[in-house]
């Protein structure tokens, strides 16, 4: 599987998250790891070349796999779009408990006011 562009990757990842709601596979997993641009296996003991360091992103949903390499110059752009993507799609987790407590405190305060 070849690498696809950052934008294409983010687009397909968004599609994965949406599909995982509708059915099919349960999990969407994303892996981030250092990558030095070498696509072939290197002999044992070969040093990681930091000069061409990139970030490799892989995503897996069911039997579909996509991957992209993020170059240092694109990091900020990628982080912004990736964060937005996470925020938009990981939205059915539990909300903070504190807010519930605050709400109840408000309710109590209101009823106390009414009583008095």
């Amino acid at each position: 599987m070849g690498l696809i562009s950052n934008e294409q990757f983010l687009g397909e990842l968004a599609a994965f998250y949406i599909k995982s709601r509708e059915g099919g596979s349960r999990n969407v997993s994303v892996t981030m790891k250092p990558h030095d641009g070498k696509s072939k296996a290197q002999p044992r003991g070969t040093e990681f070349s930091t000069s061409s360091a990139q970030c490799l992103f892989r995503a897996k949903f069911g039997n579909k796999k996509i991957s992209t390499a993020v170059h240092p110059k694109d990091v900020n752009k990628f982080v912004i779009s990736y964060s937005a993507l996470l925020r938009a799609n990981m939205d059915n987790l539990e909300k903070q408990k504190k807010s519930d407590e605050k709400k109840e405190a408000k309710k109590k305060a209101k009823t106390a006011l009414v009583k008095s």
């Binding site: 982080v79 990736y82 539990e94």
Partner: protein
Amino acid sequence: MVYITNWDEFVKRIEELQKQSPDKCRLVTKYSYRDKKLVIKYTDDVVCLQYATDQQQDVKKLEKLTGTLMRATLSQE
């Protein structure tokens, strides 16, 4: 593998692990909509750090962590 329950400790141990073997580490996030669960794993194939959550606020922390780790990965020279 045991989950780390405290986020700050999780991040601290990730940073330590990253310093130790910067080119072997990977960050894996697994999200399940139906199970309402988010699992974050960081490993260098020797040590494995995991954190599981169902809290919305942890997504924000994950965003921050991803950014820091990406920059740390790319600035190791």
